[in-house]
């Protein structure tokens, strides 16, 4: 089995998940409670990766990261190398691609909290951080777990985006799913089978964690 690819995939998924949790807590909170008129615009943009072919997303990210755009040129000056075909580029693509899988559970989580509970907290504490840490986050904990597991597994399983913006460079951007594709191209079915089984097992276990907790949480 491709050890490098395993390590790369799990590192990518781990960091992506952490970044996504950092984004999805404030974004989910705002989507649940915010009152801005342009909220549907943000909701639609966040959900876009769900319906878009990954190659479309990958294509635009590639163009955006490349030397053709001011953003791409700026980033490559700052990083010292172009974002495309690098781990940082993969990370950027993964965060965008898995965004809805983390944000949507968090939004549902915040929406599930009784408005009056939130108001009771606001009447008793003037510190928003304290309300978030002591009341809101404990109440959305099952949703936080769902968001983390979905973001992680979805990142491990992505193919189109990583291929487009990563190019499948061994050790740098060649993730597990690309490794399987290459193995099949080389008729190395036994190897492909091992890699595929690993992904299948990880995904199933992750979902088991979500549903196992879910059934307990509803008691």
């Amino acid at each position: 089995m491709d050890q490098q690819a395993i390590f790369l995939s799990f590192r990518l998924a781990g960091i992506t998940t952490l970044i996504l949790l950092g984004i999805s807590i404030p974004l989910g909170y705002w989507l649940a409670y915010g009152r801005a008129r342009w909220k549907p615009l943000v909701e639609a943009a966040v959900a876009l990766p769900l319906v878009l072919p990954p190659t479309v997303l990958g294509f635009y990210l590639l163009v955006l990261m490349g030397p053709r755009t001011a953003l791409g040129r700026t980033v490559s000056v700052v990083l010292g190398h172009p974002l495309a075909f690098s781990f940082a580029g993969l990370l950027t693509g993964s965060v965008i691609f898995s965004l809805p899988f983390a944000v949507q559970p968090m939004t549902s989580g915040f929406r599930s909290i009784d408005r009056e509970i939130l108001e009771a907290a606001q009447l008793l504490s003037a510190q928003p951080a304290r309300i978030l840490l002591r009341v809101l986050l404990p109440l959305v904990r099952p949703f936080l777990l769902t968001a983390a597991v979905l973001a992680f597994t979805h990142t491990v399983g992505e193919f189109g985006v990583v291929l487009m913006i990563g190019g499948g460079i061994p050790g740098v951007t060649k993730t597990l799913s690309i490794s399987i594709y290459d193995q099949v191209q080389d008729f190395a079915y036994a190897q492909a089978n091992h890699t595929a089984l690993l992904l299948l097992g990880v995904s199933f276990l992750a979902l088991l964690v979500i549903y196992g907790r879910g059934s307990r949480a509803h008691v």
Binding site: A120, Q122, L124, S125, V135
Partner: protein, 257 residues
């Protein structure tokens, strides 16, 4: 300001001694919410005032404005001389800084904290020892000391409301808003909560505004009454005066039924 208010002020000659009228709360609020157009202006100078009126009269909406949970289109609220809200100048004090206790009809205890943690939630800034002491006192006051380690999910409706009261009063607010917190509790239970509550408030001179649509309740607690209907104040004064005609009307209706 409204006619009801000026009339009310004239009725207040038998108020506190030395000629000094205690004005606990002054409020003028204009706010439209769906079908309801809230237009009220009043001064609270009695320590216990019942806000009485049919469902949909705007009682809860008014309480929410006072507590800071709703920002009205126009309004001015002063609690013991301190401006909590003034839309003209843009002044607005957030709910937790108003020092107002608020107990709603449906208990809103934090489901993931035990009773002690719930009551302690509003006590940030005190030392651990004082928090424990205050929580103990408040629970004892409402005969809920034995519930300290219980989870809100295991409490009965009456127990939940006693804990909610303990939680609202633990930070020693300057005013208490009660939005029909005893709906669905039997009369004995209600009395066993009301007695220590009114005594505790009187001791500290903390005024309460108590929402009710139950005319018997309005008479029982012998307070000042504000009668509200369709977003407006119809009358404000002692219960036996402002509710007399409604009481007769109610008795007549009962006779017909």
């Amino acid at each position: 300001m409204s006619k009801a208010m000026t009339l009310d002020k004239m009725d207040k000659r038998d108020g506190p001694a030395l000629g000094a009228t205690t004005e606990y709360l002054q409020a003028a609020v204009e706010h439209t919410l769906g079908n309801l157009s809230l237009r009220v202006a009043f001064v609270l100078s009695a320590p216990w005032t019942v806000l009485w009126g049919p469902s949909g009269a705007g009682k809860t909406s008014l309480l929410r404005v006072l507590g800071g949970l709703t920002r009205p289109e126009r309004g001015r609220v002063l609690l013991q001389g301190r401006t909590l809200l003034e839309t003209a100048s843009g002044a607005w004090v957030p709910p937790a800084e108003r020092a107002i206790g608020f107990v709603t009809q449906r208990p809103t205890l934090f489901p993931h904290m035990d009773v002690t943690a719930n009551v302690a939630f509003g006590l940030a800034g005190l030392s651990r020892g004082s928090i424990a002491q205050r929580v103990g006192q408040m629970l004892a006051l409402f005969h809920a000391a034995h519930l300290a380690r219980r989870s809100p999910g295991d409490l009965s409706g009456g127990e939940m409301q006693r804990v909610a009261l303990a939680r609202a009063l633990a930070p020693e607010p300057r005013m208490l808003l009660l939005d029909e917190p005893f709906t669905g509790l039997d009369a004995d239970l209600k009395l066993s909560i009301l007695e220590p509550l009114t005594a505790w408030l009187a001791q500290r001179n903390i005024p309460a505004l108590y929402v009710s649509h139950d005319i018997a309740e309005a008479f029982q607690t012998a307070p000042d009454v504000i009668v509200m209907d369709r977003g407006q104040i119809q009358a404000h004064g002692p219960a036996h005066v402002v509710l007399a005609s409604r009481r007769e009307q109610l008795l007549r209706q009962l006779g017909e039924g």
